[in-house]
Each structure stands twice: as C-alpha cells, then as structure tokens.
Symmetry: C2
Subunit: 212 residues, 2 copies
Amino acid sequence: MARRRAQKPYHHGDLRSALLDAAVALIGEHGLAQLSLRECARRAGVSHAAPYRHFADKATLLLAIAAEGFSRLTAAGLAAMEGLTHPRDRIDAYGVAYVRFAFEHPVHFRVMFTGELGEPTMEAQRCADAAFDLLIDSAAAVVGADAATLAGVAFWSIPHGLAMLILDGRLPPEHAGSADAAAALARAVIGMWRGPLGRVDDEEAKATARDT
Amino acid sequence: MARRRAQKPYHHGDLRSALLDAAVALIGEHGLAQLSLRECARRAGVSHAAPYRHFADKATLLLAIAAEGFSRLTAAGLAAMEGLTHPRDRIDAYGVAYVRFAFEHPVHFRVMFTGELGEPTMEAQRCADAAFDLLIDSAAAVVGADAATLAGVAFWSIPHGLAMLILDGRLPPEHAGSADAAAALARAVIGMWRGPLGRVDDEEAKATARDT
DNA sequence: CGGGAAAGTTGTCATCGTCAACATTCTCGG
DNA sequence: CCGAGAATGTTGACGATGACAACTTTCCCG
C-alpha cells in the first residue's frame, strides 16, 4: 500500500475491464471491422501483447463483450418485468426492454449478433442461453410449455427485427431518435401482435385494460 | 478469337464476378472476419493487387456482395408474390421468401446486415431501398399508405428475426434443417400475425381459406 | 522470506490492406 | 492496318495487425 500513483505501477489493476471498455468504445467510434487489439492496449496504456494475458485472442475478447451484453439484456428484461404479474404484460415488457437495450447499447447488440465469432465460449453460451431461456419461460407462462418454443421464437422475432431496423437507420427519426421513442414504437408494434400469445389474453383483455 | 486456352491469357475475362464468388465462398468457409482480399485474388488465380482494378477497397467489395444480395432478395420476393392477387397473400409470400432467402444465401444475408461496412455505395443503397420499398408497397396495399411504414416495419421484423435465429443456430433442427422446413416455420409464424395486416383480411378470411 | 504464479514487456514473424510504378492487352479513331 | 491511350494485371514496398516466444517485474502464499 501507499502506492505511488505518480509513476504508474507495473500492474494495471483491472486491465481486463479496461480492455473491454476500450474495445466497446473503439467499435463505437470506428466499427467492429476496424477494431484492433493493439489499439485497445494502447488506449489502456499497456503494451501490445498485454491483452493476451486476459484473452486467448481477439475473438475471445469479442465473445466476452457479447457475454456481457447478454447478461445486461437478461438483467434489463428481468428489471422490466419486475412487479408485473400478468404473463402477457411480462413478455411485452421484455420485448420493449429488448428494443431499448439495443438502442442504448448498440455496440454490445451488434457484437452479440454478428455471429462469425467462431466457437462461442462457455461463458458466452451460458449468457446467451440465459437471455433466450428467460424469453421461452415467459412465453411458456402465456401459452404453456408445449407451444413455448414456437411462440418464443415468434415473439422474439419482433423486437429483434425492430432493433435491427433501428440500428441500421432505416426508420424515420421520429421513431428512432431517442430510447423513449424507440421503446414507444416497440410497445406499439408488440401491441399489434395477436398470435397465440394474444389470443389467450384477449379473453381477459377487458379485465386488464385499464392502463394505456 | 482462336485464343489459346492452354496458357492462361493475361486478362482474366470476368475477374469482378470471380472475385465476388471467391469472396462469398471464403466467407462461407472461414467467416466474414477472416476474409482477405489477397486470398480472393489467389483463388481467382490472380495477383494480390488485381482486385483493386475492380473494387476501391475491401469494404466496397463487401458492399457489392450486399447489393447483389438485396437484388436477389427483391427478385425472390417478386417471384414469390407472382400470381397472387390478395394483398395479404402477397405480403405473406414475401415474408416466407425472405426467410427462405436467408437460409439459402446465408453469406449474402450476413453481409447485407452486418452493417459496419462504412458508407454504402450508391449501388448498394439503391438495391437495399428497392427491397425495402417492395415491402412497404406490399404493406400499403393492405393497410393503406398512411400506416404502411409502421405496418411494414412491424411485418419485416418477423421474417428478419426468424432468419437471424435460424442463421444463429438457435432453433431446433426440425425447424431449421432445410429450406423447406424453414419456409414452413416462417409460414406458421407469419400466420400468427394478426396485427393491422391481419385485421383487414379477417373479415374476408373465409373467402380465402381454401388452401392448406 | 523465498519461490512460483500472475501480469506486463520487448522482439519477432507471417499476413494483410493499400499504394505506386511498371507491364500487357484491348480497342477504336485515323 | 496501326498506333496510342485506356483497361487490366503484376511486382514491390510500407505500415499495421494478430499471434507467439522469451524475458522481467510484481504479487502472494506457504
């Protein structure tokens, strides 16, 4: 202790996080394709080979970003569903949170779904599965376990496609200008869904229709 | 004329297409991130700088692949809608064709939607807009021009999300094992859609329900 | 306190994207 | 028919990158 902060210590302290942060920032600035480990190292104030003490290779670093993204997505979904008891309300909230997440963490979202990252890490696989399982479980709570996979897939497609459109800049600015606008759009589009998820609730719709 | 085929001519003949084909093949084999212009050149039997006579840089080559993909997608959509007169049938067919396209041309599809390709070429922009306009027009034929953008966005989300799930290998094999299976899944999921696109047709659904 | 493990560094190599300079072939106007 | 300029390819070079090996510094625990 009593470390001299004036001259930087040989050890960084938390290089791993610093590299992840630098990578996310760099991807945001110059795009995924331009990302270089050496530039990350430079920005973290460390030599060009230091990253290899924390990541096997570039793909592993990206996988870590993806894993982080899936974790945050799951957390955002859980937070959005918190306090909601109606299954339909819950899965709708997840969908809206999904689009909001994509808007607020565009870099993570891109990395999560570029694929092309080689064989996923166990860590990354676990985080992705957790996010997907939450969706399937939420769907199962509406339509039952048998149809859950199909319904989950159908339901995921909507927020996911929406998120892609927003990130690709193919939506008019009034719908994609802010996180709130994007979320509102998501709520509107999801509200149009009247598939198996909707039918169940249509019968009890009047009982629930008090919020707008 | 009477060209000696035995010793290859100085000029390739159709290098541009050969490079595009090589690039698509290489991406399919090793992933987008591993693509190298030099490897494309090698595979086309040409020196490492030859590609620069046809593409300004690597990004431009990828943009060309994306443009080709959007053109084929538009063509596939048009072919699928051919002969169908009911607006709802037509947009449904487009959606199914969309998923089938993604399954059959996974490399093109990936390149089309990786974004991160820098500023799009005019060519690429035009092809992408054509595909999107076809969708919006098809939606407009169902819900009218006013709601067309919103409905188009909502409707695009479904096949797009579905395609992404299939390409990411997150679907059970019975649904993603073949192009026909994927298309059938798409048809099923799209059939669940009962938003503004569906409501119009629900009134005349009985008149149309003769297939299946 | 001492030795191994962890974390960083320097050096190196093959490969890549890109540019400049040069070579070959095509084509079209005279 | 020919000859010059435009296309198209080639060779060579440069800086940057991902990845590995060997070495150094610091940490931590027995």
